[in-house]
């Protein structure tokens, strides 16, 4: 089975106090942030590698981004991808649609049975890209997949709905799935693995390789401004050493009639 996994690189924004917005309100200041592979994409890659290990075939990882993004492709190569392609592009002004156009152009020239995406990204979280690419490629898709089993020519999947319900599909290949967390336990990628992936070839494509030009890529959704969210109500913080804080909280709960 030939699999394509599309992945991206995101800033680690869990450290809230470092988020600063640039004066033009167009981007966040990223120089103090660490970067990582998008969480959902890690699950998608793991799912792809597991399928490949089980069924054979090839795995190609693709990303659309500037040179720094090679990092996530190296990770993919270390995890078990055979090929890695980066379409060289500064995506900071792109929307999901423009990136989908690029990916569709690249993917349609490759041979594949299954295309995997992470269900959404940690940074923008729009959750659009996979299903857009599927529609452009004219292949069936399912999003938010938490169970995936493959056999010759088809996949059995369950996708997650609200309140714990799952929706079960059998889909003929070629198909595109977007993968949700919890579908597997992504493996650890050792530094040795990443270093040996440095030796592997990483294909860099210019936009005109698949016959695109910047002019043809006009976002349909345009960023107007970024701002920090208005300060909402904040919890009353109970300060002090753990014991003191615990004591005060216990009293509060007791007074509230909890116990």
């Amino acid at each position: 089975m030939d699999i394509i996994a599309c992945i991206k690189r995101v800033p680690d924004t869990s450290e809230a106090d470092f988020i600063k917005i640039d004066p033009a309100q167009r981007d966040i200041e990223k120089d103090r942030l660490a970067f990582k592979i998008n969480n959902w994409d890690e699950y998608a890659l793991e799912a792809a590698v597991q399928l490949k290990e089980k069924l054979g075939g090839t795995l190609t990882a693709i990303t659309v981004g500037p040179e720094d993004w090679n990092e996530v492709l190296r990770r993919a190569l270390a995890m078990g991808a055979d090929n890695a392609i980066r379409i060289d592009r500064d995506v900071s002004a792109d929307d999901a649609y423009t990136v989908a156009v690029i990916l569709e152009r690249v993917i349609q020239r490759l041979s594949y049975d299954l295309v995997l995406f992470g269900a959404q990204s940690e940074d923008f979280g729009s959750g659009q890209l996979g299903a857009m690419v599927a529609e452009m490629l004219g292949i069936p898709h399912a999003t938010l997949v938490t169970v995936l089993e493959a056999e010759e020519g088809k996949v059995h999947t369950q996708r997650e709905l609200e309140a714990g319900t799952l929706q079960s599909y059998t889909i003929e290949l070629p198909a595109l799935l977007t993968v949700h967390t919890g579908i597997n336990q992504p493996r650890y990628i050792s530094l040795r693995g990443i270093r040996s992936a440095m030796q592997k070839e990483l294909q860099v494509m210019a936009l005109d390789d698949p016959g695109l030009s910047p002019e043809t890529l006009v976002p349909m959704v345009k960023l107007e401004k970024l701002e920090l969210p208005p300060k909402g109500k904040e919890a009353e913080l109970i300060a002090g050493a753990p014991e003191e804080a615990a004591e005060r909280l216990a009293k509060i709960l007791k007074d509230a009639g909890i116990f």
Binding site: P11, T13, S14, E15, A16, D17, I28, A96, Y97, D123, F124, G125, S126, G127, Q128, A131, M132, E135, M136, P140, H141, A142, L144, H156, Q158, E160, L161, E162, A163, G164, T165, S168, Y169, I171, T181, G182, P219, M220, V221, K222, L223, E224, L226, L228, G232, E234, A235, E236, L237, P242, E243, A245, A246, A250, I252, L253, K254, A256, I258, F259
Partner: protein, 327 residues
């Protein structure tokens, strides 16, 4: 002047909460622009839903077909695409549900229209529609405009828009729709409902809920102990289920359960909106988290910024002491 079209969804014999939420938002936007509000509902039996929707919408389009049993994305996409082409609404609005995540992106590509998903605000500005999205772990708000387009597709975040009374009595129109030949490349096999386990967290008065800050399954023991002294039950956020540390029946949030206990004690939960949606109805919310900037502190009534592994044992002791005094 074309109107605003709200796509309603239903499951388990009821309209989804989020449909009421976006319907209310749609009503507001329609009123502001003096537009017509349309709602579409599709299914094998939609009469009751249509009546309900007419309380908000000026016109309800009820699409009835046996092909729509189970509300699947593909047939719905065909219907909605057809209706948008026909009606040319200025805005098509849906809840950012799992259903929408499957359908909206393909729909936008099929029609070549802009799509903004998971919006926390939708508003008019100089006659244009703008949206606000919450990005970077809820730490930044981004406002977007749309490229020139006859219609735009927007999905609204679950729980973000309050439900207002519609006070309308719209017309209901039944719509016939001819499905093309059915293809079998994607076969729906059914719904799997979460297995009912031994514990029903929706019935608990006190929930002690853990997130990834618990670090390891073994630490659940002290949390169980805390739940025990409080007479409550242990629930959790998604990562804890993903790691296999607790069964999915204990999960609170969008993909888990919605709870309204008297006390919700969140331990090591950062408070992603998917989780908050499921617990913000609790009477008292207490958060214990190492990260002072964790979003959970903005929904909590009380917070302790510290390592839960240090606070929990202390809390168990203090509560036991206080209980000892009264008993």
């Amino acid at each position: 002047m074309s109107g605003i079209l709200v796509v309603a969804e239903h499951r388990n014999r009821a309209l989804a909460n989020v449909s009421y939420q976006v319907l209310s938002k749609g009503r507001q936007l329609a009123d502001q622009a003096q537009m017509e509000l349309l709602a579409v509902v599709a299914g094998s039996d939609v009469d009751a839903y249509a009546k309900e929707l007419a309380g908000w919408a000026d016109r309800v389009l009820a699409v009835k077909s046996d092909r729509l049993e189970g509300l699947l994305a593909e047939p719905c996409q065909k219907i909605i695409a057809h209706l948008i082409r026909k009606i040319k609404p200025k805005i098509t609005l849906m809840g950012h549900s799992s259903f929408a995540m499957d359908m909206a992106p393909s729909l936008s590509v099929e029609l070549g229209i802009p799509l903004a998903t998971d919006c926390i605000d939708i508003f008019w500005q100089n006659g244009d529609i703008l949206v606000t999205r919450s990005i970077y772990n809820s730490k930044v708000n981004a406002t977007y405009s749309f490229a020139q387009s006859e219609t735009v597709l927007i999905t609204g975040r679950v729980g973000e828009f309050s439900v207002e009374e519609g006070g309308r009595q719209g017309q209901i129109e039944e719509i016939e729709f001819d499905f093309e030949e059915e293809s079998d490349y994607k076969k729906f096999e059914g719904y799997l409902e979460a297995e009912a386990g031994g514990v029903d967290i929706t019935q608990a008065e006190v929930l002690v809920s853990v997130g990834r800050g618990i670090k390891d399954k073994k630490n659940l023991e002290m949390v169980e102990e805390l739940a025990r002294v409080l007479g409550g039950v242990v629930s959790c956020s998604r990562p804890v289920v993903d790691y296999g540390w607790l069964p999915s029946e204990r999960q609170v949030g969008l993909s888990g359960k919605t709870v309204q206990p008297k006390l919700y004690l969140g331990l090591g939960i950062s408070g992603a909106f998917q989780h908050v949606v499921g617990m913000k109805g609790a009477s008292i919310i207490v958060a214990i988290n190492k990260d002072a900037k964790a979003p959970i502190f903005s929904v909590a009534n009380y917070g302790i910024v510290d390592d839960l592994l240090k606070v929990v044992p202390a809390l168990v002791n203090k509560i036991s002491e206080l209980k000892g005094k009264t008993e």
